[in-house]
């Protein structure tokens, strides 16, 4: 480890070491350009049997299964799964609301840790990693590359990411769904404070484009509990109007509003088969990632 190496505030080497043992799987067949750990759309020459297919002229005669021919007197071609790498697109919300955090850790800090760690794990297993920071527009965007040196670029970008401005998450997700050409694993890290029905459109758009979408929603415990002991003036972190409220008076309706939102979002993600994770930012990000990775391992592929 040379002296020129930078230390990143959002990376914990120990946690990286522990998490490196867990693979990052895609739930859909990927369309990579090199061999990797993920199932490919195309049949290939791996050891994992896929299916028998009738021989058609032009097939490689070397792939004829003679044993099958002996048994059925027909020509079959034995096909195997192809393994390929994946394109992992990390989308980090850097809008003003991501600066919120009641226990010292802000959502953006948490998001950087998740994104940095996931990027590292992906590069480690030979996948291409890209990063998009979105706020009221796509602030910065780095296309996926699998070169380990590419990590430095991603980390630098994460390092510089500052939460500011409003958010147009729905519009930007639609834009990203179009922009990412090949099938990719898209991991969106945001608070998702948008209309669930509008998010449904986004999620369906990604699905239509055959992307494997994972949504990590970061929420602060104070946002969920809404516990205050005196009148509060709430200033909108994204520049909206301030609200003066007596928390005791409004708590019921706040809980009702946020409960209904989370319920709607849950329905949307189930309907659109999004790999959705609601993360409370006072939990360990390592644990959250472990949960995320294990969950994807169990889920298997979705075609």
């Amino acid at each position: 480890m040379g002296p020129e190496r930078q230390t990143r505030s959002f990376l914990d080497p120990l946690a990286l070491g522990r998490l490196a043992r867990l693979p990052l799987f895609a739930r859909r067949p990927m369309q990579g350009n090199v061999s990797g750990k993920h199932s490919s759309l195309h049949r290939g020459s791996s050891v994992e049997f896929a299916e028998y297919r009738k021989y058609v002229p032009g097939d490689d005669l070397r792939r004829l299964d003679w044993r099958m021919h002996g048994r059925s007197d027909r020509y079959y071609v034995k096909e195997c799964e192809a393994d390929t790498n994946l394109r992992c697109c990390l989308v980090v919300d850097t809008s003003g609301s991501m600066a919120f955090g009641s226990n010292g850790t802000t959502k953006i800090d948490y998001a950087k840790r998740l994104a940095g760690t996931l990027g590292y794990l992906a590069i480690l297993q030979g996948d291409a990693v890209g990063l998009s920071c979105v706020a009221d527009d796509i602030v910065t965007e780095i296309p996926p590359r699998r070169n380990p040196a590419h990590l430095t670029v991603i980390f630098d970008l994460l390092e510089r990411a500052k939460p500011t401005g409003g958010t147009h998450l729905v519009r930007l997700l639609h834009e990203l769904a179009e922009k990412i050409r090949q099938r990719a694993l898209v991991i969106v890290i945001s608070d998702f404070f948008a209309d669930p029905q509008e998010l449904r459109g986004c999620f369906e758009h990604f699905r239509f484009r055959h992307h494997d979408l994972a949504a990590v929603q970061l929420l602060d415990p104070l946002e969920l509990e809404f516990k205050f002991h005196r009148p509060m003036r709430f200033i909108d972190m994204e520049g909206g109007p301030a609200v003066f409220a007596e928390p005791n008076e409004i708590a019921d309706r706040y809980h009702k509003a946020i409960g209904r939102y989370l319920q709607d979002l849950q329905k949307v993600v189930v309907d659109t088969a999004v790999d959705y994770h609601r993360v409370n930012i006072d939990t360990s990000y390592e644990q959250a990632l472990m949960h995320f990775l294990v969950g994807r391992t169990r889920a298997g592929s979705v075609r």
Partner: protein
């Protein structure tokens, strides 16, 4: 709502403390940068009805709890009796109870009269309120009497119903004098009355001076009126308008004239037992006559408001030369006007003493006084010189005609005593007026106008020149006055010449009647002697009035003073519980030696309207005055402490506030997945 400790109400603004704390708390807000604004805004947009009401309800209940506590320790009374400004322990409490006969009216469906209910209510209320000193003013004597406690009112004869008319202005004057003489502190004046116009005399100019006098007091004087103003439309009053004993060939008979009066707004249905009425209001009731123990009954049927029976013949058993009787009707809402007492006797000779300077004046006066209109009445005239006055036997003298220089010294004293006994005196001017005065009147000098004068105005409603019973005027206007004598003094003019020169005047006295006639019966002075009708009427009326006062049998209005006699008055008939010093205020028949008299309520009692609210308010305008209306037979206390009510309200408010403040079980909004 009234309070016994009203000064504690100054702490009432403390009830606003929860609101103030709430407002201060609102000012102590914190500012926070907030990400999940969409939920806050959505929560704000949601229906805030219950949440807002809940907050206001909590504040309201807190305010109510504190207010309830303050009200409770202020000792509230369940009544508007004291008024909002009232309350507190008074230094002196003066009680004025209207004892007039109308206060004996009982309520519908109850046996309790207005005065009984009013006294009971007053005693209960005053016991609750408390005071350092208690004063009861009798409605008849208008004398203040200090009492130990309100309970003493129950035992006092001054709080019992009587037959005499009350004089509220005189009672209030007595209250005023008491406050002034005793320099009382904070004073409460309590009046219990049924607001009858004859008792209150609202037209009297005395009320204004009373109001002004009370307003001059530096200390607080509050007036409280407990009014029993409900009328008795079905009530019937009986009154004897005339009693005459006549001797006929068949023996002695009594001619009784009576009048039955109903209240103006009487109803069709009559509740009086023993009476029947049909839908047109025709009423049939028995009138019961009781004369010297013999009872007879006369069924009477009448429509309309009044019924008069003239000269009903009742034979007298045993030729009683004198006696007494009672007329009664079945009891109704007011028992006080259901019976009437009377006495009868042979009319005494009407004696007149005539003192005159010359024969020319003597003759017309002698004739006018000596010939009675009724042949059964004997008239006697005794002419004496002024210096022989001491030799006159005054017993039985009804009228003194004086045409001589005004008396002085012993002669004047004798005449004053005569007037005090109820005698009548008519003074005529002497030929040469001197400076002597009597009854504050004095002749000045003779005035001889160039042309004879005629009387310009005279009082035809009452007194000597009143119209006859048939309504015809006394021919006063035909008199010619050639000269008259000037008169100085305070008097009421009954007849005046041009330029307001008095011709016939009356001097106000306690009992008897004193008149000054400014001319004589001489031909040179006036035509009194030649056109003798006016003079005759004047003299005969004065004579009749004097005889009525001095006769052995007398009809008195309750409250009038009994004649002075050597013997003590004893009761022959009437209420049993009456004390001897209260005889003159209670209806009945009383005797002293040979003399008997009947005491009854005054005529105004039978036709007394009730003052309306505006009139009563006007009488107390500018004074601290509170009124509460009650009904006879009401058993609900006017004032009772209701601090328990406020304690209960406070507890309810505390419990309700606590219930609203219980936090709801927080729902978990989200969990980490």
């Amino acid at each position: 709502m009234s309070f016994l400790q009203p000064w504690l109400l100054v702490a009432l603004p403390v009830a606003a403390l929860p609101v103030i704390i709430h407002l201060i708390n609102q000012r102590r807000f914190h500012t926070i940068d907030w990400a999940a604004m969409r939920f806050l805004l959505e929560a704000n947009r949601m229906s805030r009805g219950y949440a807002r009401i809940r907050q206001w309800l909590i504040l309201l209940f807190r305010v109510l709890a504190i207010a309830g506590l303050i009200f409770m320790i202020s000792r509230p009374l369940a009544s508007g009796w004291l008024g909002l400004t009232g309350g507190g322990r008074a230094d002196t409490t003066i009680v004025l109870i209207d004892r007039s006969p109308s206060m004996q009216q009982v309520g519908q469906g109850t046996a309790s009269s207005k005065i009984e209910t009013g006294v009971a209510q007053l005693v209960q209320t005053l016991n609750t309120l408390g005071s350092t000193r208690w004063v009861l003013i009798d409605s008849h004597t208008a004398e203040p009497r200090e009492i130990d406690s309100p309970d003493s009112i129950l035992r006092s004869p001054s709080a019992e119903a009587a037959s005499a008319t009350s004089a509220l202005p005189a009672m209030l004057q007595a209250a005023h004098d008491y406050i002034k003489n005793n320099r009382t502190g904070e004073t409460e004046v309590w009046i219990c009355s049924d607001l009858r116009a004859n008792d209150w005399n609202a037209q009297s100019g005395r009320w204004k001076s009373l109001r002004d006098s009370f307003q001059e007091f530096k200390q607080s004087v509050r007036f409280h009126l407990l009014a029993y103003s409900s009328p008795a439309p079905e009530d019937i009053a009986v009154r004897v308008t005339g009693v005459e004993r006549r001797t006929t060939g068949d023996g002695a008979v009594l001619l009784i004239s009576l009048k039955l009066t109903r209240e103006a707004n009487w109803g069709v249905e009559d509740s009086a037992p023993g009476t029947q009425s049909n839908a047109r209001g025709k009423l049939r009731l028995p009138v019961r006559f009781e004369i010297e123990g013999a009872t007879s009954e006369l069924p009477v049927e009448f429509e309309g408001r009044e019924f008069e029976l003239k000269d009903h013949h009742i034979p007298l058993a045993g030729d009683h030369p004198k006696g007494w009787g009672r007329i009664s009707i079945p009891s109704d809402l007011n028992p006080a006007d259901n019976e009437y007492y009377f006495v009868f006797d042979d009319p005494p000779p009407r004696r007149t003493i005539l003192v005159a300077e010359g024969d020319e004046e003597v003759r017309p006066l002698e004739l006018a006084a000596g010939i009675a209109a009724d042949p059964t009445v004997k008239c006697e005239v005794e002419t004496v010189a002024a210096r022989q006055l001491a030799s006159v036997r005054w017993e039985g003298v009804a009228l003194l005609l004086w045409q001589a220089p005004l008396p002085s010294g012993d002669a004047a004293d004798m005449i004053k005593q005569f007037v005090d006994r109820g005698g009548r005196v008519v003074f005529f001017p002497p030929k040469l007026p001197n400076n002597d005065a009597i009854f504050d009147g004095r002749w000045t000098r003779w005035v001889e106008p160039p042309e004879p004068l005629r009387i310009e105005t005279w009082w035809g409603d009452a007194d000597l020149l009143a119209r006859t019973q048939s309504g015809a005027a006394v021919p006063v206007g035909e008199l010619i006055i050639r000269r008259y004598c000037g008169l100085e003094g305070e008097f009421t003019p009954l007849a005046t010449l041009p330029e307001k020169a008095p011709l016939l005047t009356r001097v106000t006295t306690d009992r008897g009647g004193v008149y000054f006639c400014a001319t004589t019966s001489s031909m040179d002075d006036a035509s009194l002697g030649t056109d003798g009708v006016a003079l005759y009427v004047m003299i005969q009326r004065a004579l009749a009035a004097g005889a009525a006062e001095l006769g052995n049998s007398l009809q008195l209005n309750a409250g009038d003073r009994f004649p002075t006699t050597a013997d003590a008055w004893t009761k022959l008939a009437g209420s049993e519980d009456v004390l001897s010093n209260e005889y003159s205020y209670h209806a009945g028949v009383y005797a002293a030696g040979e003399r008997t008299l009947a005491v009854n309520r005054a005529a105004q009692e039978d036709d007394a309207p009730i003052l309306n609210d505006a009139q009563v308010a006007g009488l107390f305008s500018g004074l601290d005055f509170a009124r509460v209306d009650d009904q006879a037979g009401n058993v609900t206390s006017l004032t009772r402490e209701v601090w328990r009510l406020f304690l209960g309200a406070m507890l309810v408010a505390i419990v309700a506030e606590a219930g609203l403040c219980i936090p709801r079980i927080a729902r978990k909004t989200g969990e980490t997945q």
